[in-house]
């Protein structure tokens, strides 16, 4: 992996996940009780041995991401040589529009000045634990020009995405950006591997010919004549760019095999910012079934089929079912929530009842008291 540098792209369209991204990019969405989405791309890079990581910051809302990543120390990326680099966007001028391609283009210097041969670009919107050494080996074995990492979708999704049709050996027969995704399709996890030279060429050409979208203008439009392959990731993955996908993917963490494969791989943990939260306290009356519970919680009531983030209090007689409850929330005595997503610091006061549906969970925004 000494031959590979990487870019983490935090810019992403948020149309389908507006409620959760009002003051944060998708990359810093809380996930699985204690993580933020960016942790998955970054951890896979670091545990695969990548030591030179550029983080392409979004146009705005970068506070939460900077607070999370800081010096990169938690990922062993605070280094004298290489390590973590923040690549801020250049302010658009003359009516130009901000875009991921523009962001990459104006930071190409960073790529060109690095001495690695390959560039791995990953968008921080997917959940996975991938050994990128295997992706590099695949890329080299096939003699590919561009390798995109995909996996089979386990649910349909209203959010647009890059779909590929692979041949047996992984060569891509056709690739297209579809407005919505169906179960069983091979969808991109937003991970692209190519030589540094090709990367710089396609980015420069695309942007200088009016392009705005990396996938469309730098990859798809220039794919003709290139050896375009897909590495199909067989382990668990989720693409979190719509509210339903966020909800379903969190609940998917309750499956033991998924939990095990994603988080408990020897030498390949998912790393996140350390907060030194105390172990969770189970009190008199606690009844917890099939749930993922982070540290720092205090549980007096019922929790079923739910993901509970750090420092949540579930008071006596309260019940949480099929829900995703983020950090610092309180569900007061005898309150009940079902099929609900609560953002951080939400309080459900005594005796209140809220119920959504599995395909349409009720979403409660940050700091709200019900």
């Amino acid at each position: 992996m000494k031959r590979v540098m990487s870019l983490v792209d935090l810019q992403r369209e948020e149309t389908y996940i507006k409620e959760l991204t009002e003051d944060r990019p998708i990359a810093s969405l809380p996930f699985a009780g204690r993580y933020r989405l960016v942790d998955f791309a970054l951890s896979s890079m670091v545990t695969s041995g990548v030591r030179n990581v550029g983080v392409l910051l979004p146009e705005n809302k970068s506070r939460s991401i900077l607070d999370h990543l800081r010096s990169g120390k938690d990922w062993d990326l605070a280094r004298h040589h290489k390590g973590l680099f923040y690549l801020p966007p250049v302010r658009p001028e003359n009516g130009e529009k901000a875009s991921d391609l523009r962001n990459i283009y104006y930071n190409l210097n960073f790529v060109e000045n690095s001495n690695e041969e390959f560039v791995l670009l990953a968008r921080a919107t997917s959940v996975y634990n991938i050994d990128f050494n295997k992706v590099l080996k695949f890329h080299l074995d096939r003699g590919a020009d561009v390798t995109v990492v995909t996996s089979k979708a386990w649910h349909s999704d209203p959010c647009s995405g890059l779909i590929v049709q692979p041949e047996k050996n992984g060569r891509i027969r056709d690739a297209a950006i579809k407005p919505e995704l169906k179960e069983g399709e091979y969808r991109s996890l937003g991970i692209f591997l190519m030589s540094k030279e090709l990367f710089c060429n396609v980015v420069r050409y695309a942007f200088e010919h009016g392009g705005t979208d990396f996938r469309r203008d730098a990859i798809l439009k220039q794919a003709t004549g290139l050896k375009f392959y897909t590495y199909i990731h067989e382990g668990f993955s989720a693409r979190v760019c719509s509210t339903p996908a966020f909800y379903l993917s969190n609940l998917k963490m309750l499956e033991q095999e998924v939990w095990q494969e994603l988080f408990m791989q020897e030498n390949a943990p998912i790393i996140t910012k350390v907060k030194d939260m105390a172990p969770t306290e189970y009190k008199e009356g606690a009844q917890v079934k099939n749930s993922l519970i982070a540290n720092g919680c205090e549980i007096h009531g019922i929790v079923e089929n739910s993901v509970i983030f750090r420092n949540v209090r579930v008071m006596p007689g309260a019940a949480i079912r099929n829900s995703v409850v983020m950090e610092d929330c309180v569900v007061e005595a005898d309150a009940e929530i079902e099929q609900v997503i609560t953002d951080k610091e939400v309080t459900i006061t005594r005796g209140k009842r809220l119920r959504g549906a599995m395909n349409f969970p009720v979403m409660i925004g940050k700091h709200i008291t019900i």
Binding site: R34, Q256, W259, F263, A278, P279, K283, A286, V288, N290
Partner: protein, 377 residues
């Protein structure tokens, strides 16, 4: 380089009364409370008290402890000039010696003390569970113009003979100190926490090192000598939770103390206990699990029943397994149908399907690191 107050943590003891739990690690590295190790408590106290330079004196089985401490980053003790310094016995031109007592350990590191150039030296031990603001004790030391200040706590009179007991005047001036007295004259016990004005301490350590009949121990030799000389020794009263966890029973009991409705220390509060931890996901509670009155840490999987127990990182509790009144240390595995009651399971213990580890409140069952418990028959 100037340091106001240098802390020295005595972490070299074998902790032989902890039996198999310290067969492979020093006592300060023994896990506690589901997430911590004993040494996290004095280290976190130092970090929160504004003490930025800490020497850790190690001797017995130091590797795991050294590995755990690393560069001190987990406790924010990795500043440019501060930090955690691991101080094992070392060889000099005239040979090498093990640390023969608590005072000797500091004496052998006087070079390090002088290099740090502190005004005051805080001596701590690595075997107590407590949260304490040492800066207040230092203020008291300075305010009274003391040469030595000893942290004290009131203990039940019937237990007093297990401690170093001291008599003090109403203003705190210490008049008498007796290590483990048969007939205690007061209930003020030394916590093994001392602040010394540095030059004063150095002179006594140098003098004590020359005395062949000395056991080179703070409680037995240094403090009594200072008192005999009429030095200004004061007590500093601490009234929070403080627990010596030097025996299996006291380690078990201290863990159980944190299952109370109001735990004696808020691990995650403003005086947060820091620790160095592997990156593990939130714990998972299975569809048929039952968990109550318990502390659970990250990475654990519970498919069976847990009641009144402390479950550490990465522990697995299988279907139908039952864990009651126990402390399960990191990465222990309790397989389907196994029973664990009134026990401490050491790290990576494996209790096979249907096997039992049963103790009683008076005699806690213990397993050592990597021990495998097979089912009877």
């Amino acid at each position: 380089m100037k340091t106001r107050c240098l802390a020295m943590i005595l972490a070299g003891g074998q902790g032989s009364r902890l039996g198999v739990l310290t067969a492979k690690v020093a006592k300060p590295a023994v896990p506690f409370g589901g997430k911590y190790r004993i040494i996290d408590f004095p280290l976190s106290n130092c970090a929160h008290s504004g003490i930025e330079r800490v020497g850790v004196l190690t001797q017995y089985r130091p590797f795991e402890l050294n590995n755990y401490l690393g560069n001190g980053n987990a406790w924010d003790l990795d500043g440019r000039e501060g930090g955690v310094f691991i101080l094992p016995p070392y060889a000099r031109a005239k040979g090498a010696d093990w640390y023969s007592g608590t005072a000797d350990a500091i004496y052998q590191n006087l070079n390090f003390v002088e290099m740090s150039d502190p005004d005051y030296v805080l001596i701590l031990s690595g075997d107590h569970i407590y949260s304490m603001d040492y800066s207040k004790m230092l203020d008291a030391h300075i305010g009274k113009g003391a040469e030595a200040t000893i942290g004290v706590i009131r203990v039940p009179m019937e237990e007093a003979s297990r401690f170093g007991i001291l008599d003090a005047e109403p203003d705190g001036r210490i008049t008498r100190f007796t290590e483990k007295p048969a007939q205690p004259t007061s209930d003020l016990a030394s916590m093994g926490i001392y602040i010394f004005t540095k030059d004063f301490l150095r002179d006594y350590l140098v003098e004590d090192a020359k005395r062949e009949e000395s056991s080179h121990d703070f409680g037995k030799d240094i403090i009594p000598k200072m008192l005999a000389d009429g030095a200004k020794l004061y007590s500093y009263s601490f009234d929070g939770y403080w627990k010596d966890v030097g025996t299996i029973e006291s380690l078990w009991q201290a863990n159980m103390d944190f299952l109370a409705d109001e735990p004696p220390i808020d691990f995650g509060g403003h005086w947060r206990i820091h620790s160095a931890n592997p990156s593990l996901p939130p714990h998972y509670i299975g569809p048929e699990a039952e968990v109550s009155h318990a502390l659970l840490n990250e990475g654990a999987v519970v498919l069976g029943t847990v009641a009144h127990s402390v479950i550490s990182s990465g522990v697995r509790i299988g279907k139908g397994a039952k864990v009651t009144d126990s402390v399960v240390m990191p990465f222990a595995v309790i397989e389907d149908g196994a029973v664990v009651d009134h026990a401490i399971l050491g790290p990576h213990t494996k209790v096979e399907p249907g096997a039992r580890v049963k103790g009683t409140p008076d005699s806690i069952a213990v397993t050592g690191e990597n021990e495998v418990v097979k089912a009877a028959g």
